[in-house]
Structures are given as C-alpha cells and as structure tokens.
C-alpha cells in the first residue's frame, strides 16, 4: 500500500493552487479530503506525477447564505454539511445525503468539492444536487464560470472541468414555499456507495406539483434527471398514488449500468422504487409532514 513517487505541492492560497494547476495541466491531481484519490494511489491505480494538496485553503470550507442562494465551499466536509442547520433548513435532502456517505471517518475527511470533481458514477451528491438544480463554480487562473449540475457530469469520472480548473463552490437556489427535498439510497454493502441513489425536490401549488425534479445516481454511467417521471408528474395532483404510477418511468430512456455483481435489470427496477420513495419523502416534507 505504498504509492508511486510523486511531487507534492501544498499551496496556501487559491491563486497559488490555480497557478500550480496551470503549470501541470496534464499530470497533476488535486488532493482535498483524499478519500478517493489516496486509496487509488496506494493501489497504484492512480500514479499522478504531481499532487496539489488544497487542504490548507481552509477559507473554502464555508456554508452560508448569499442572497437567494445557499453557497457551500468546495472544502466543506460531508460532516459539516450533515451537521449544518442552514443546510437542513434549505435542503433537508442534502443533509440526508451527506449523512449517508461512507462512515464517520470518511465524512470527517471527505469534501463536497472533491467528491463532485472525482465524479464516481456511484457517488451520492449528484443525485440530490441534480434534484436541487445546483450550480458549480469552476475557477481557472483566467476566471470562473458557472455550470449547472445537469451539465457537469459527463460520464464515469468525467466532468465539465477543464484542465487548470478547480471546482470551488456549490450554489443551491432558495427552495420555493411549500417545497421539500429528500435523498434515499440502496447502498452497496461493501463501499456504502449508491447502487441506486435518488434525490427529489418538489414544490407544490394548491394540491398539484408545481415543480418536480428527480436526480438518480449509481444506476447509469453518469447521474441523470428522471425526465419522463418528472414530466408525468408536472402539474399532476400531488399524491402518493400519482408518484407510484409515474415511478415506473424513472429510468425510461436511460441505459442502466450492469456489472459483475449488479445487473442492469435490477438497477432499472430499483431506480423506480427509490425514485418513488425519495419523491414520497420530499412530498411529505412539502406538505409539512
């Protein structure tokens, strides 16, 4: 469990980190909490020539309100998010999601920015952040851009991040009145990663669904929005029966992953089950339950 040799940099400012990243466009990996990168390096599955350790950029570890958005710095740990009252008030589903990641040791070290940039197809956050319609700030040495979660995840371990860019912040829009969010998952027993994870956000108007967003992670090569299920429910009367009827379409049009231990068939089936459960829970919250 000894990694291959690498050059180690430990910048103390964001600017310095971006300069280092620009100087090593091809061979550098960014180290935050280290819970994905370090195990891969110890197994020599990852052998980066350069590691840029951003853990000292502690001013990126914030969670705060900014106008109509909840903003979370990339270095906020899962534990911080799990324990934050602010997060619970804005998006109970995000807090729920953070609490299901790994175990306490992992949650105390792992960061939201690290997890998102790594883009493991079975990671938890994408499920709920798709549902919350979050945006990410991608910062390069030449400036920053804002990318919606729906446009960020491209495939397994592949994102919209360009060489030299660092994901620095997650921005979540203020929830509507009479809204709720939730995250539920079927975990793989060994890793606690999502075999299927479903995040849901609903906003109600009268007795109907004014907004429905469902993010699914773990089931396909990249996390996705359950578009057909959302469409079926948009404007429908807000009831568990309506949700159950629409849930059959949660995975419609998306190619499910199949591997040695979990088949695509089963993933397709439980995508519907967990999409329904997430939406039911979000609906109960929206209804003040």
């Amino acid at each position: 469990m000894i990694p291959a040799a690498f050059a180690y940099h430990c910048p103390t400012s964001l600017q310095e980190a971006l300069q280092l990243l620009a100087a090593h466009p091809d061979d550098a990996r960014v180290l935050a909490g280290g819970h994905s990168l370090l195990p891969a390096m110890k197994l020599r599955l990852a052998q980066p020539a350069t590691v840029i350790d951003i853990s000292r950029l502690t001013d990126l570890a914030y969670i705060r309100e900014e106008g109509d958005e909840l903003v979370i710095g990339a270095l906020a740990t899962h534990r911080q998010i799990e324990a934050s009252d602010l997060v619970r008030r804005w998006a109970a589903g995000l807090q729920e999601c953070a609490a299901t990641i790994g175990d306490p040791q992992v949650r105390n070290r792992g960061t939201i920015g690290g997890g998102l940039a790594h883009a493991d197809p079975a990671a938890d956050y994408p499920g709920i952040l798709l549902a919350l319609d979050a945006q990410f700030i991608l910062q390069g040495s030449g400036g920053q851009r804002l990318v919606r979660a729906a446009n960020f995840f491209r495939g397994p371990f592949t994102t919209a991040l360009a060489a030299g860019e660092l994901l620095t912040e997650v921005r979540i829009p203020r929830p509507a009145p009479m809204s709720g969010s939730a995250y539920v998952k079927l975990a793989r027993r060994a890793s606690d990663f999502a075999l299927v994870g479903a995040g849901a956000y609903v906003a109600l108007a009268g007795g109907t669904f004014a907004a429905v967003r469902i993010g699914i992670t773990g089931a396909a090569a990249a996390p996705f929005r359950a578009g057909q299920m959302e469409t079926a429910l948009q404007g429908a009367s807000a009831s568990a029966e309506a949700v159950a009827a629409a849930a059959a379409r949660a995975a419609a049009g998306v190619e499910m992953m199949g591997d040695a231990t979990v088949s695509a068939d089963y993933r397709g089936h439980v995508t519907g089950v967990y999409a329904r459960r997430a939406l039911d829970a979000a609906l109960r919250r929206a209804q003040g339950g």
């Binding site: 000894i2 291959a4 040799a5 027993r189 089963y266 089936h269 439980v270």
Partner: protein, 787 residues
C-alpha cells in the same frame, strides 16, 4: 475466593491491544532490517517465459531479487500439505512459482531493499514475460475431463475422491415415502483477519540461530516445517507468533513468505521483513468454503428420516496448503448432523482450479456440511407440510443414546439436542412469530421469515484414533507447563497460540481456580517455540479442549506436590489439606494453614529442614496430552428476518442462539466468540463473496468491493447456553470458537426462504444480496409480485 472458572472476567489482554500497545510482527524493527515485496502473477495460468530483474537490481536501495528457481533449490522438500494419503494428488508447491504461475497472485519473484518503499518501487521494474495458458477457474467446469489442467503433470484436476456409504443406503431410499433433493452452493469467502499476514526473519551467523516472527496460528508446526524444508537444524530455529490479529484458519498454513524471508535472511545476513497488503490478503491468503453439494434425503410420511446422500464438489484452488485437502473431511464426520438416521452416503470430489487455495476457515468443513443438511431438512419439512422444528425434533439423537456412534463411524461424546431446540423456540417466541408471519402475509408489505438451524461440531482437534479413520496419520496433542515462582506467582506456558481468543485470560482463570491464586498473579505465555513445551496451535476449537485440558492436568500435579509440602509443615496427611484463597489449610481447621506463597518459596529455594525428604525441589509440571475423542458441541439457532419484496433487502430482526460447549470458563469471552462467529455466518449468508471470472481474474479484491459486515448490519444477539460437559477431557469444555459460524448461515438462509416460501421460492444462493432475493421472487412469481 469464588471459583474463577465460570466468571465473566474482562480480558487481560485488551487494555494492551485496544490502546495500540500490542506488538504485531510488522511493529518489530531490527537493526539493518530489509523489506521484501513479492511480484505476483497477474494471470490465472501462465508459463513464465523470462524474468528480467536488471532494472530492479539497479534501483536505489535494492539488495536482492530472487526467483522461483533459486527458492526451489533452497528447499529440501515442497511446502507441506497435512493430509495427502496416496489417493490424494499432491503436486509440489514451491515458495515461488517455477516455470508456471497457477493463480492470480502466485508469487513469481521477490525483491529485497533497504526500505519498504524502495522494494515496492523496484517490484514495478521487474519485467516478467508470461505466456498465458487456458485457465480452469470455475469449479464445476474444472472437474470435467476436457478442462485445462491446473497441473500439467497430472492426469486431470481431480485432487481426490472420497466415497463413503452405509450398506443399506439404497434400500432406505427405495423404501421411502418421500425423497427431497437440494442443490446447495457454498461461495468463496475471504477470511480477512484484521491483521494481514507478515513474516520477519533474523539470522545470527556466528551462533547459527534463526528467529522467525510470523503471524501464524501454530508456531511449533511452522518451526518444524521451515527447519525441515530449508534444512536448518531444528534446534537453531525459533518461531515467535507475537500478538496476532485474527486468523480464522487462514494463518494455519505454512506460507511461501515464511520460507522466503527465512531463506533470504540467511542468504543476505540481514533481517528481512515481509508484510502483506490488504490486496495480498485477498489474493494470496487462503480462502474459505467454495463447493457445491447435491443432497438427497429419504423419509417416511410421518417425518422420520431414513437416509441421506451428499454429493459434494469441493474447490481446492491451485495448490494443497496445510488443511486444503482435509477440510471437507472435517465436514464428513458431522455430515449426519444431530440426527439419528442410520443410512448415510457421502461422496467428496475435490478439484484443483486456477484460484487461490481454499483451506480451513472458521468451522472448516463443518459449516459446509451443516448448511447442506439444514437447508435440506427445511426442504423436507416443506415437502411434508410439517413444521421445520418438528422434523428436527423427531429425528434428533436422544440424550440417553450417548456415546452415540453416527453412521460415519464417529463417536459423539454427549448431547441433549432436544433441550437446545426447545430453549431456542421458547426464547424466540416461536408460535407468536409464526402468527405474526401469517398476519404480515395477509397485510402485504415486508415479509417475516423464521429460520432454524440445529448443528453439531467435532472440536478439540484432534485425537489420533479418530483421525486415523479418515486416513489422517497424525496426532494433534497439546501441552502445558505450569511453573509456580518463588513468590507464589504463576507462569504458565501453553502450546496453543492465541490470535484473538483471549487465552491470557481464560487459561489464567483455570490456574486461579485450581491453585487459589488471583487471576492477576498468573502470566500465560504462548506463541514462542523458544519458551514452553511443544503444542500444536489454535484452530478447530481445540485450545481449551486440548491445551486447556493439558493445563488442568499439570495443575493437578502442582496441587499434589503443594499439598505434600503443606501437609509436611502442618504435620498431617496430604489428603487432609485443601487449597483455598491463596492458602492451604487442614480440612475443618482453617486456622491451621499455610500461605500458598510460602509453599512456593519452600519448593523453590527453601531449606531441606522444613521440606519432605522424598520430594524433589521446584514447583513446576509439564503435561503432554492427547484426547481420546473429539468433543461434540451442539446447538440450535433461530434467525428472524424481514424481507422487503420491493427491492429484495433482508433485515435481520432477531437472532437467538442456544449453544452448548460444555463447561464455560469465561462466559464473557464465550459470548464474544459466539457473537463473532454469528457475524461471520451472517456475513456468508447475506454479504460476502469473492468471484473469479471465467478467465480466473478475481473480481473485487478490496474491502471497497468485498462486503465484510459492520455493526449496523447486525442485530443484538440473544445468546443462551445449555451445559452438557464432555467426558472427553477433565475440564468438560468442548470449544466455542466456531459454533456461531456453523449455526448462522443456514439459519439466515432458511429464514429468508421461509419468508418467501408462500410465493414459491425454494432456493437462493448465498450471499442473499437484494438483487438475488428480488430475482428469486420474480422467478417464483413470474414477475407477478406486487411492487
């Protein structure tokens, strides 16, 4: 002083171990120490064409690179297998592959460097040219005559065939009202001791002494075999097992690395350490289970079972390690279970595959046999429309029938199976559970299942006489030395070798109980061939039943001598004194007494003036002892599960275990053993499996892929005991280390199948992952289950 035997005393070793103050092999640092890394085959089966070590040898800090040919030359004989009678094919197993690699992880070369990191880096620089060969990775395919051969020099992959049948087995089946058949799969498990294997050797050139520290369960055997194979005069080799962090059977074998570091330390004149990574624990430490058995059971309509046939295909892996071949035979003797049918047949076909070797894993053969049987008993109950508890009860050997010779010829020492079952049913509230189950089936939603498993074990490995019946030409005795020091404190040595079992506490309790001294005044030493008598280690639930029994007998010798010294001083007959609370007193006259410490002083350095004339000095005794028979623990476990038919998830609601291990020395430690055992049995039932793909690549060799359960997945265990002391040893202790594992897997699987039986589900192969459970429901109902 209350008797120490039977007390729930906290483990003496725990403050050391849980504060990080244990000393494990990898903690040991020696001057000039070098580090070894093994280069392992990435192919399941390949010819080694060429090994180029030039770049590695030129790398900074590298001391040596050694390959298979050189290691083979260093060995007088291949790595031993303990059970290889003439009908067992036993191809040579060398520490590093010579010409051919036979599993992914087979060692091909070893790099030694000044630092562990340098050795690891240099290992990547060794260029091995392989010519991949077709692999026989799958058990059932490998058994076929046209399969690629794991060992080219053999005629086929059949390691051995063992056939046993009673004379009238066919008549039993011909005359039966009902015959049920089951097919049962034992998946491959990875023992995953918390401490990976490690070995460190030091050679003192001028004295010729060699010391090998190893994560072994049996240092004395390791010493003998390493000395013999490497031609080291045995008196010069000392093997030390310091603190060892778990084994579960996977540290019984003499491993290639034990030989490699010892050879290299002697060759290089510097200490050499090797420590496995977790991945090497998956790839190159023995695995458990992996077999398939077809079972047929013949019965009368009233539930009386007339006979049983078991056809067992067992995966050996690529080489015969220490217990690889014998493991199914450990299942043979218990294969009729706690039941009394007379006609019995079992065929074992053991098969080489291009995978890591299997070997003993907690229970070793007995969990497999018990699973095959207990699944089939449930199938029979279903066929007869009888309660599974009633079928078991009807067929148990009765408590007045012991000693009972079962149809395999093994003699079961003692038992009361019906009481254990009754206690378990009562503790579980069985009738209420059945009512709850019926109610839930009507309501819809999550389903309730109740699973029963009754088991027996053959422990206290092992008596030469009983072993001879299965062609095991050996004697697995154990030994103890008790030394009462001058001050009355006691040092004892056991030949058993703890690696988590708590010997330091349990053995101290036996000493305290017998000598009337405090547990804190007893030091229990083990795991070092350089001090204490020879013993055969810890496995097969043998430590208490064999080594503890030897200790008990040595203590009787000490007591006899102490009584004689005391009687001399108190001017009475030795029969008239008794030992209690640190003193020896005249019976009935507690005021006429002498402190035990005073006796110790008299025996050690005392003057002749106050000492019996015909008595030798010293207060020390050594006993070597071999039991006449195995001990036969038993019990009944009941598991209650909730199954979510929507996603197939299984949640264990309750787990009731009634175990009988005879005399319990420390109930707290016994609880811990049963808890851990049940956890491992549940793990097999629900979570764990290492899969090799058809090309022989293991899939998922990390704890991110391989699901060892953690506390949240396990229920609060409800433990109960009955106590039927064994007549086989003077302690009456039978052994408790493996019971939980043996009982648990069938109880859990029976529970899940029970939950789904009304839907038509009859069989689900372990591990019962949510997907497998869901698919079984889909298949049984043709997809018609309410979502």
């Amino acid at each position: 002083m209350p008797a120490s035997i039977g007390q729930r005393i906290k483990r003496k070793e725990d403050p050391r171990l849980i504060t990080g103050n244990g000393v494990y092999v990898d903690d040991i640092q020696l001057p000039g120490m070098t580090h070894a890394v093994i280069v392992r085959s990435p192919h399941a089966h390949a010819r080694i064409v060429h090994i180029d070590a030039e770049r590695a040898l030129a790398a900074p800090g590298v001391v040596a690179v050694v390959t298979g040919e050189e290691m083979k030359k260093a060995m007088v004989a291949p790595i031993p297998c303990f059970w290889a009678p003439p009908f067992v094919q036993n191809p040579p197993h060398w520490p590093l592959a010579v010409d051919t690699a036979r599993y992914v992880g087979d060692g091909v070369a070893v790099v030694v460097a000044d630092a562990a990191a340098a050795a690891r880096d240099a290992a990547d620089l060794i260029q091995v040219e392989y010519e991949p060969l077709p692999a026989a990775a799958d058990l059932e395919s490998a058994a076929r005559p046209d399969a690629p051969k794991v060992h080219a020099e053999l005629a086929n992959n059949i390691t051995y065939e063992f056939k046993f049948a009673t004379d009238n087995i066919d008549q039993a089946f011909a005359g039966a009202d009902v015959v049920v058949k089951t097919r049962n799969v034992q998946q491959r498990l990875v023992p995953n001791a918390m401490e990976p294997r490690a070995a460190l050797a030091e050679f003192r050139k001028y004295s010729g002494e060699v010391t090998l520290w190893s994560t072994t369960q049996n240092p004395h055997l390791l010493k003998t075999f390493v000395a013999a194979c490497l031609n080291i005069p045995e008196q010069n080799l000392r093997v030390i097992a310091p603190d060892v962090g778990g084994g579960f059977g996977s540290k019984i074998s003499m491993y290639p690395e034990d030989y490699i570091v010892t050879y290299l330390a002697m060759k290089l004149g510097r200490p050499v350490k090797w420590t496995a990574t977790r991945q090497e624990s998956f790839l190159a430490t023995t695995h458990g289970r992996r077999g398939v058995a077809e079972v047929e059971m013949a019965a009368r309509r009233d539930g009386t079972i007339l006979g049983c046939r078991i056809n067992w295909l067992a995966d050996m892996g690529a080489y015969n390690m220490a217990i690889t071949t014998f493991t199914p035979l450990l299942g043979f003797g218990v294969s009729p279970g706690p039941y009394r049918w007379q006609e019995h047949a079992i065929d074992v076909t053991a098969v080489f595959t291009n995978t890591m070797s299997t070997d003993a894993y907690r229970g070793a053969g007995r969990p497999e046999a018990t699973y095959y049987l207990e699944r089939t008993i449930d199938a029979l109950a279903r066929e007869l429309n009888m309660d599974p508890a009633a079928v078991r009860r009807k067929n148990f050997v009765r408590k007045d029938e012991f000693p009972y010779t079962n149809p395999t010829g093994f003699v079961m020492d003692s038992g009361d199976y019906e009481t254990a079952l009754s206690r378990a049913l009562e503790a579980a509230g069985y009738q209420e559970l059945r009512q709850d189950q019926a109610r839930r089936r009507q309501q819809g939603g999550k389903l309730l299942g109740i699973g029963i498993s009754s088991y027996i074990e053959a422990c206290g490995v092992g008596p030469s006489k009983a072993l001879a019946a299965v062609a095991f030409g050996g004697n697995l005795f154990d030994a103890a030395t008790v030394r009462v020091e001058h001050t009355g404190k006691v040092t004892v040595y056991t030949g058993a070798s703890a690696h988590g079992q708590g010997h330091e506490t349990t053995f101290a309790q036996i000493v305290a109980d017998q000598l009337g001294v405090a547990v804190a005044d007893v030091a229990v030493l083990h795991g070092d061939t350089g001090r204490g008598p020879v013993g055969l280690g810890t496995y097969g639930s043998r430590s208490l039943a064999v080594a503890g029994a030897a200790m008990y007998q040595a203590l009787q010798q000490i007591k006899d001598k102490a009584r004689r010294i005391a009687a001399h001083r108190l001017e009475c007959h030795p029969d008239d004194v008794e030992i209690d609370e640190g003193r020896i007193a005249v019976k009935g006259s507690p005021d006429r007494s002498i402190a035990f410490a005073e006796i110790a002083a008299a025996a050690n350095f005392g003057s002749h003036m106050n000492y019996p004339e015909d008595l030798d000095p010293g207060l020390e005794a050594t006993v070597y002892w071999q039991p006449e028979n195995f001990t036969w623990p038993f019990g009944t476990h009941i598991c209650v599960v909730e199954v979510d038919p929507e996603d197939g998830k299984v949640q264990i609601q309750r787990y009731v275990a009634v175990d009988d291990a005879g005399t319990i020395i420390n109930p707290l430690i016994a609880d811990g053993q049963v808890h851990g055992g049940i956890a491992q049995g549940i793990a097999q039932a629900l979570f764990e499996e290492l899969v090799y793909d058809p090309s022989g690549q293991p899939l998922g060799t990390s704890l991110m892929d391989y699901a060892v359960p953690t506390a949240p997945e396990l229920p609060a265990f409800e433990n109960h005991y009955t106590h039927t002391p064994t007549p086989v040893n003077p302690l009456g202790a039978k052994g408790i280390g493996e019971a939980g594992t043996i009982g648990a897997a069938p109880a859990v699987v029976n529970a899940v199948v029970d939950a789904l039986s009304h839907l038509g589900v009859r069989e689900i192969d372990m591990p019962l992952t949510p997907e497998r459970v869901w698919k079984a429901i889909q298949q049984a109902t043709k997809g018609g289950v309410p979502a």
